[in-house]
Symmetry: C2
Subunit: 547 residues, 2 copies
């Protein structure tokens, strides 16, 4: 075959829309596997509802309804009491990939990329040819409804049947029809996803109607909105040379590098500028930031790395909070014992701030019960309060938890009813894929998660040792007493002494020498009876358990 | 805090470019971890070179040079003898994400998405502020050089210093400077990547200059271009309702559904239309394809699933080929024994065709030797001839290989020098991430890989059993002979008979009863001596080993 020249080959050169790209690569958005695809749909809508409610300062009330309408074919309806979507934005919000209100702001939110809802519209269209139906109202004026499709070739919305409704409510109802999906009660299904969402969002009430018609309510356990995460100034240690240059070139108000730095970045005061000057007096802090070159920026970044900085401001990151996690865990897992830890903010990649919270819960509904009724530990992974159900092997949280020497904490993840809870909060969570199901394995993040989980594990260590000690010692008592019986028997044969009396005497002797053994054996027995009667040892939360 | 209304919130609504998105999420392109980031750069450039050469029907000659120029800072230069890039396309080719010659065609190639080279430009710019420097010539007229940057806000190229060169060569030289990367000799480094590329591309010659100045040449082992993969017609079983509709609505030449089907899809003849009519006589095959509704398309797809189809045409997929894999494995691993299998084309997701090839190689340089000098098996994963080094846990190939009961094949992946080679070829490989480091776990793919590997394993099973049998039986012979010595000794003590003579007699007796034992023991000994002299048992390939 003859060689072909470049001109001929490049005749076929074309540009493509991001929508076409994701249509061809739907697995990158989480649409792979029937069970997972359904969870992805619920996840995208619920995440958007939660973000919108928080943005508008409204305690979220969300209902999710899934109805089976054919083989591997379901409708999903998600309703919220959020601020609604203004009519003018409805098309772009639901049918333009990479459009939204969040991407460009340096603020901690669940959704960040403006992909989710448009991805669902595309998935509905690809699998059923149906538009997504939206009803939304902002509370002012009439609500409206519309049918939304996406023009994938141009990444543009197609809005049909846009009509005003008679009602004037506030909130959004989205209904989509999806095929090639499947509802399943499993560790990775929609029910589990919503349960975990309730766990990490105690301020939220979630109603779920499953395909079998059963209603589940995950009741709000905290009546207070979480603190609002504020757009924040980037911390100097988080800047790459490239970031610094981009900020400098787009600066509007500062004439000099010094004032630009103080105005733009966190923890930067005139004192810090003085410190930087001391470290490198060749830096020209009077320079116009718009004129900054790569070499200038590189020099400045080097100096920044040489001086000490206060850690990033915690107010930019809103973790769930120790008290809230405790309430939510009680509400949903009702464990015998737990230990909750909220760590101080840390930075990764030099300076992106993040906070890790961890809890270890023991007993109650903690852990995972397999079909064969075997109990084992389970890892509950969250990023910015969003449960991560898939790609566990690819996740920094899994790696950190697995790297711990659990024996030291008297914990056996293979065989004990233990739940390990980890929530990573950050303005920029480094996900390992567009589907956002796993946290990338950044070393600093793995290390910090490990420390947090070990911290929490230390809190339950003694309790678990206590439990095991009781088991062990009471076993010893019972064994000793068996020998006492045998000995009494033997003494009777040898000497003719009264067997019953001998036994009582030996028992007293043992009890006198090892009083704690007897007490423990009795306690263990009591507990056994109690749990046989299906009543936990722990005080119940005021609110009912939703399990 | 007061509630905020939707109008206020949506003031911040914006659209974003795909380049901005990937800049913020560089890990999705494979730029995470210093070692991996460097491999990603090499991978993107080498892949483009190989695709371009094949496209132009040129036997590829590629050289890769990596130079350390600072702490975690390297230049990467990749030179090929490909068709070159016409001057008019150089900006878009290297600095527009989702632009290229391949995305829209239904043809098997390594690169598909038009992301790679533009991603490298962005990564260079982000980490060093430097443009990528290109020199390219198409063989006609003068070659040129240029410096390329990317305007990430608009996903557009910035081309600087575009000048004609005096020379008039054909090919492309790309040089980029990258920081936050690291060269490492490891199972996941650049050297291993190129070695595996040579393994799966025996028609290609690769020269590699490592940062220490050492030159490695992976010599071409096949002088023939691989058959050229042709753009192909989609197979009816691979169509979703949505696909069918899109093809129908954009059809240009067909007035009737029947002729549209025959013209557009593979394996569709007028006879097949007749069969479809028999299955569902309500389908209107005279309808204008442009007027096809979702319901029509759904009905047609249902009928398509009910009749038998010939498998997709193998010519659309070009596997490496049994003979070529054999040559490449000899050339690079020089195993004692191997078994290579090329399977028939199969389909996944209903009808995307793919072909799996597998080989199991034993001995020689097969397997993996750890730092502690422990030998274990290794899995060499490829998709469309591209080595996959990362995300093994997320990959269908790993899952398939691990699910095999290796004991049945006398193979111990933990302890034997075994290499399991798997190459998946398809017009559309379903990668699990944009970084294309793992094949998504589609059930049909896992199943087919498993069958292919088991097929190959069956081929080496007897050889390995032979080896182990010899080890076992010769051990038995030696043990028996030890007893013979002892027995002769005892007989001498008891009877005074000559010890030496007794021993000879017993030895003869054993040899007479178990002649195969003696032979095996001798053979095993010979082999041991031979391998101690560092000479393999196998015939050497005509070409030199590059290892």
């Amino acid at each position: 075959m003859a060689e072909r020249n470049a001109e001929e080959i490049f005749k076929e050169f074309k540009e493509h829309s991001i929508a076409e790209f994701f249509k061809k690569n739907r697995q990158m958005l989480g649409f792979s596997g029937q069970v997972r695809s359904l969870v992805t749909v619920v996840h995208e809508y619920v995440t958007n509802s939660l973000d919108a409610c928080e943005e508008a300062n409204i305690l979220p009330d969300i209902s999710v309804k899934i109805k089976e309408i054919g083989e591997n074919r379901y409708t999903v309806t998600v309703k919220d009491n959020g601020p609604g979507i203004p009519k003018a934005y409805v098309g772009k919000s639901l049918a333009t990939i990479l459009a939204g209100t969040k991407f460009h702001r340096y603020v901690q939110q669940r959704g960040q990329q403006g992909i989710g809802a448009a991805g669902c519209t595309m998935f509905s269209q690809m699998t059923t040819g149906k538009p997504v139906i939206i009803k939304s109202g902002t509370g002012k004026g009439k609500a409206y409804s519309a049918k939304i499709l996406i023009d994938t070739l141009r990444n543009k919305p197609i809005v049909n049947d846009l009509v005003d409704l008679e009602e004037a409510f506030r909130g959004t109802i989205i209904e989509g029809e999806f095929a090639d999906v499947k509802y399943e009660m499993s560790e990775r299904g929609v029910y589990e996803y919503l349960k975990r969402t309730a766990l990490s969002n105690p301020h939220c009430q979630i109603m779920f109607v499953a395909p079998d018609g059963k209603e589940n309510v995950f009741i709000r356990s905290v009546e207070k909105m979480p603190e609002k995460s504020k757009p924040t100034q980037p911390h100097p240690l988080g800047l790459s040379v490239n970031d610094l240059l981009e900020y400098a070139h787009s600066s509007q108000n500062s004439r000099k590098l010094s004032s630009f730095i103080v105005d733009t970045f966190a923890r930067c005061t005139p004192n810090k500028i003085a410190e930087l000057k001391e470290v490198d007096n060749a830096i020209d802090f009077d320079k116009d930031p718009k004129q900054l070159t790569w070499a200038d920026a590189e020099q400045l970044i080097k100096a920044i790395k040489k001086i000490k900085w206060i850690a990033p401001d915690a107010s930019s990151i809103i973790p769930i909070g120790e008290a809230q996690i405790t309430k939510a865990l009680k509400n949903i897992l009702n464990p015998e014992f737990m230990s909750v830890v909220e760590r101080k903010p840390k930075v990764f990649r030099g300076g992106v701030p993040f906070v890790v919270e961890s809890a270890v819960a023991y007993g109650g509904s903690s852990g995972y019960i397999s079909n064969g009724n075997e109990v084992s530990g389970s890892i509950l992974r969250f990023a910015n309060r969003v449960p991560l159900l898939f790609d566990a092997g690819n996740c920094a949280i899994t790696e950190a938890v697995k790297s711990i020497e659990w024996k030291r904490y008297n914990i056996d993840l293979e065989a004990q009813p233990v739940s390990i809870f980890v929530n990573l909060s950050s303005v920029h969570v480094p996900y390992s894929g567009v589907g956002k199901e796993a946290v990338a394995k950044e070393e600093e993040i793995i290390e910090e998660i490990k420390l947090a989980v070990m911290d929490a594990a230390r809190g339950v260590k003694d309790y678990i040792r206590g439990k095991e000690h009781v088991k062990f010692e009471s076993g010893r008592y019972r064994t000793t007493m068996r020998y006492a019986k045998q000995l009494a028997d033997d003494l009777h044969s040898l000497t003719g002494a009264d067997q019953k009396r001998m036994e009582e005497k030996i028992e007293k002797l043992v009890a006198k020498h090892y009083p704690h053994l007897k007490k423990m054996a009795e306690e263990a027995e009591d507990e056994q009876n109690e749990s046989d009667n299906a009543e936990g040892k722990t005080e119940k939360d005021e609110e009912e358990s939703n399990q």
